[in-house]
């Protein structure tokens, strides 16, 4: 198992180099930092001095290597817009996004999986049909529209929940959390529902279709012929077999939740990384954009690793191939 994890980490390195290259290339294509920093009046000597000081006169690959080396240490330079270290900016915004994404993911899983199982087992019941219609809305309505509709109903018309911000937060060293204050929790509800609704309905539809597929299989028929209870068949055998494909999709979706919470954060003015990215894009704040790009790719690779490890936990056939390959000379 450690060998497997190590090999996956080694495989991730080329991917990071490529993503890093794209991040790095953004600097060359969007604007010229030298003219931006020098202002309106400068001499050619001043320009050359600055170019030299910034290292922009060095060969391309040396610059790229320096960039990657700094990035590996969490250094992305100063934000053009705020003149503060990018790493600090991102760390400050990270807790808000992680809390929002985790809450959405938990909601999506806790509601989506049982609904999928239910609609799979009782596919002709009234409730199942209602869930399916509802899920169609969830899958097809764009996130920003859901967010705006929720704000209209729960913030404007009913006045129950705040429409923007994160409420009061509590700080634990670098981490800020909204989980321990009433206003923090209230502020979390609408964005979490908005962000999680699509995932929830997607998970539900996926679990349902996998469940229908598995329930037709021979081993389920044989389990019936063995006289097992409906409960043992549905949860002991059918659900377990639907998990493998579901884990794949859910894993990728969770990465998406963190990476693409941009729209939700913008609608709710949620002070997370997505909002930071949007604000940075508006003023072409390249260091923040490139750091964000690298961070998201690391998150996706981490999640893929976890997904692979979960496969091993669920499917004994994969454990088998590992054992065999480990024994091979």
């Amino acid at each position: 198992m450690p060998a497997f994890i190590l090999s996956r980490i080694l495989q991730a390195i080329p991917v990071l180099l490529v993503v890093g290259f794209i991040s790095f290339a953004m600097f060359a294509f969007v604007g010229d930092p030298v003219t931006a920093m020098l202002g309106q009046d400068y001499t050619e000597a001043q320009r050359i001095a600055l170019v030299h000081k910034l290292g922009l006169d060095q060969p391309f690959f040396v610059q790229y290597a320096k960039f990657m080396w700094a990035a590996a240490q969490g250094e992305f330079g100063l934000s053009y817009r705020l003149a503060r270290p990018v790493s600090g900016l991102i760390l400050e915004r990270l807790p808000a996004t992680v809390e929002l994404a985790m809450t959405s993911a938990t909601l999506a899983l806790l509601i989506g999986v049982p609904m999928g199982v239910y609609t799979g087992i009782r596919r002709n019941s009234f409730a199942s049909r209602a869930f399916m219609v509802f899920s169609l809305l969830g899958v097809s309505l764009p996130t920003f529209l859901i967010g705006i509709l929720l704000i209209l109903v729960f913030a404007v018309l009913l006045g129950w929940l705040p429409s923007f911000g994160r409420g009061e937060v509590v700080h634990f060293s670098h981490w800020s959390t909204g989980f321990f204050t009433v206003s923090g929790l209230k502020a979390l509800i609408l964005p979490a529902v908005t962000l999680g609704l699509f995932q929830m309905t997607l998970i539900m539809r996926l679990v349902r279709s996998e469940m229908l597929e598995v329930l037709r299989s021979d081993y389920i028929k044989f389990a019936r012929a063995r006289g097992l209870s409906q409960r043992a068949i549905n949860f002991g055998h059918a659900l377990k077999n639907t998990l493998v494909p579901v884990i794949t999709i859910v894993g990728l979706q969770l990465g998406g939740l963190i990476g693409f919470s941009i729209v939700t954060e913008t609608v709710f003015q949620w002070p997370g990384m997505g909002l930071l990215l949007v604000q940075s894009i508006q003023v072409a704040d390249i260091p923040v954009m490139s750091a964000y790009l690298l961070l998201i790719s690391v998150v996706f690779m981490g999640i893929n690793l976890v997904v692979d490890l979960l496969y091993y936990a669920v499917d004994p056939r994969l454990r088998m191939t590992r054992r065999v390959s480990a024994n091979a000379p």
Binding site: Y219, K221, F222, R224, A225, R226, G227, L228, S229, N241
Partner: protein, 324 residues
Amino acid sequence: MTLLDVQDLTVEFPTRRGTLRAIDSISFSIGTGEILGVVGESGAGKSLTGAAIIGLLEPPGRIAGGQILFAGKRIDNLSQDRMRAIRGRQIGAIFQDPLTTLDPLVSIGRQLVETIQTHLRLSDRDAKARAIKWLEEVGIPAARARIDAYPHEFSGGMRQRVVIALALCAEPRLVIADEPTTALDVSIQAQIIELLKRLARDHGTSVMLVTHDMGVIAETCDRVAVMYAGRIAEIGPVVEVVRHPKHPYSEGLMGSIPSLEHRVARLRQIDGAMPRLAAIPPGCPYNPRCPKVFDRCRVERPGLLEADATRAACWLYDKAAAHV
């Protein structure tokens, strides 16, 4: 003593273009400890008969008539819960393809223990001991060590042995074996049939053996039912049906078995194909292919008639008409 008594069983499938009658009032019985073979071409209704008996017809298929008596009690109209208590405990089932009948994600020991504990009040330890005993009985080598293995770690033949252990571990009185050897290598087939025979004898289990392999029938069964287009064409002691088939269809089937003793230049084959369910001809369903067909066969449907030691659904054996 009669264990299973099927009377006028009819199975129908409602479709958009009308109701298809897949099994048309068939009657037969299986005695305690008896092995009944059921043969016929694909689509003759063999497997459906088995599914109807254990109450696992795939919807929209349904029992449209007749009754099924097991140990003297009707089981065709039981609730799902009552029927579930019978499946596995009273009537076991063995399926065709051992590669797909075992849950790939659950160890075979776990599958055995859960089946045993569903039907018998046994502690985890006792259930596991029983599971190991059954694995040994079906001939899994090193059963104690392999009980935590997963299905993919076994070969096809070994998996079918595990399936047999699963079907028999709660000691049902009847086992419905639906083509248990069709998916296996020829060399393994004989072993599995031999195992099934031995277990049935040792435990006094009755067997309904569905197959299209006449060779298997001949060396395994006590009696045999030949099915054609959802009906029983002939039923009787296996020796009689194999040696002296009465129904022209059984005769055709027997003629198509290759034999080392009686070499013939060319195996006989039955011309034509079995009719589709939507287009079963009036009268005897076999009449368009029958070499001995006469007028009455095309109009009137024959019931099972006494024909020496067997009973055949054929007008050739209508004694009342013969006297006229």
